[in-house]
């Protein structure tokens, strides 16, 4: 067995980071699209879709992401084909992200003060017009910081897909550890790489939120 330099370790981990980034993007964008569709059901006026989305959110927020991954992996397997890890990972993370984003965005819609509903109603607008022209434009502004903040959860969430065998940063960490017997260094570097991915997102979420608060005080 050859000796591994720190550079070898870092290079292997960085190569695997590409998959962490790709999976994060797929999960965040896919989850965002699905979450938006669910949001409209959740804040719509029909009762049963509202309840259904509520249940969906409750299940995904009330169970471990790891279990969701296992269920997708083995559940898809029940259909009789070999499930690739990337499929189970991508699908689960999209469904999981959608649940959280729907709930975050619903909170933002609720945060628009009642007077805005009343003023637009008194001007003769119907529900769809109120949403389209008055409520959603304001909710979207409030939604930006927590949405960016949630992207951090998505990046960290992708680490769990290593457990069902998707080779990304965490899995690479385990593989490299098994080859080098340097868990302290390897997991330390893995943690630092995650930090470099997540921290800018966390920070910009904070900055955006502060900006929004300042803008709000002006009103």
């Amino acid at each position: 067995m050859t000796d591994f330099t720190t550079w070898d370790i870092l290079r292997n981990l960085l190569l695997a980071t590409r998959w962490t980034i790709l999976l994060s993007l797929v999960a965040f964008l896919g989850g965002g699209l699905l979450g938006l569709a669910l949001l409209f059901l959740r804040i719509g006026r029909l009762s049963w879709p509202r309840q259904a989305v509520r249940g969906y959110v409750e299940v995904f927020q009330g169970t471990p992401l790891l279990m969701q991954l296992f269920l997708a992996f083995f559940g898809l397997g029940l259909f009789g084909f070999d499930v690739p890890a990337w499929l189970a990972a991508g699908l689960t993370l999209i469904l999981w992200s959608a649940a959280f984003l729907t709930e975050i965005w619903r909170g933002c819609v609720d945060a628009v003060v009642r007077g805005q509903w009343e003023a637009s109603a008194s001007l003769g607008m119907g529900y769809v017009q109120q949403m389209r022209y008055v409520i959603l434009p304001q909710a979207m502004r409030i939604a930006i910081p927590p949405t960016v903040g949630f992207s951090v959860q998505v990046v960290k969430g992708t680490a769990l897909t290593s457990i069902i065998g998707f080779v990304e940063l965490s899995k690479a960490g385990t593989v490299v550890t098994n080859a080098t017997f340097q868990p302290f260094t390897v997991y330390g570097i893995v943690a630092l790489i995650y930090f470099c991915l997540c921290w800018p997102l966390s920070k910009s979420s904070q900055v955006l939120e502060r900006k929004l608060n300042v803008a709000h005080r002006d009103h």
Partner: protein
């Protein structure tokens, strides 16, 4: 789909499942108690502590909040023995959860402290209390009351996140599921059942925390 669902194994493996539930509950009980305590200490340090301490705590909080729990767990269990710090699976799991919840609850509690009206600090000072006494007796409890719902949600998140401690062979509920599926080859059923149990635990935990909140912060008292 011609698959036949089979839950006949449940009775045979009930003790394994119950043991797993017990460990998961034990982990979250210890994790929540110590994690929140750590969070309070860090929140004090970040909001009101000496200036040299603030960046140290800040670094800890940012490091934990921006890395996956799984990696924190691996680092503690596999990495720290390299420095001579050896511990059992359960100890490592507990430590990881305390450190993780400590960082998140620090930020939550700090927000609660910062929402304290300035007059409360001034009133404390005018009654000749030291800043720490004011924090301890005047500021802390209303601050916790303010953020109790957010803190409760975080505890539930950490409980659900604890599923990954099975990866270092801590024998929690997920470990039980892994064990059962390896014996029965009924993977989907095993994980389906454990997922349902986690959902129930999450709902239960939320209610326990809400009840605890009502107990610690009796109603009718106004929070400034």
């Amino acid at each position: 789909m011609t698959y036949q669902f089979d839950f006949a194994w449940v009775w045979q493996y009930l003790p394994v499942i119950l043991k797993g539930i017990g460990i998961t509950l034990e982990l979250i009980a210890v994790g929540a108690a110590l994690g929140i305590a750590l969070g309070i200490a860090c929140a004090w340090a970040r909001a009101l502590g000496p200036s040299w301490l603030k960046p140290v705590v800040g670094l800890y909080v940012e490091l934990i909040r921006n890395t996956p729990f799984l990696i924190q767990l691996f680092f503690i269990f596999f990495g720290l023995p390299g420095l001579g710090l050896r511990m059992t699976e359960l100890q490592a799991a507990n430590l990881a959860m305390v450190i993780n919840l400590g960082a998140y609850s620090c930020e939550i509690i700090r927000a609660g402290i910062q929402a304290t009206p300035k007059g409360q600090f001034e009133a404390g000072a005018s009654l000749a209390m030291t800043p720490f006494e004011t924090f301890r007796h005047v500021v802390l409890v209303p601050a916790l009351e303010r953020i109790w719902p957010a803190l409760s949600s975080q505890v539930v998140i950490v409980m659900l996140g604890s599923a990954v401690v099975s990866q270092i062979a801590a024998e929690d509920l997920t470990f039980a599921a892994n064990f059962i599926q390896s014996r029965t080859f009924r993977a989907f059923e095993a994980y389906f059942l454990t997922t349902a149990i986690y959902l129930l635990l999450a709902i239960l935990l939320r209610q326990v925390l809400a009840a605890l909140g009502r107990l610690i912060f009796p109603k009718g008292r106004a929070t400034p």
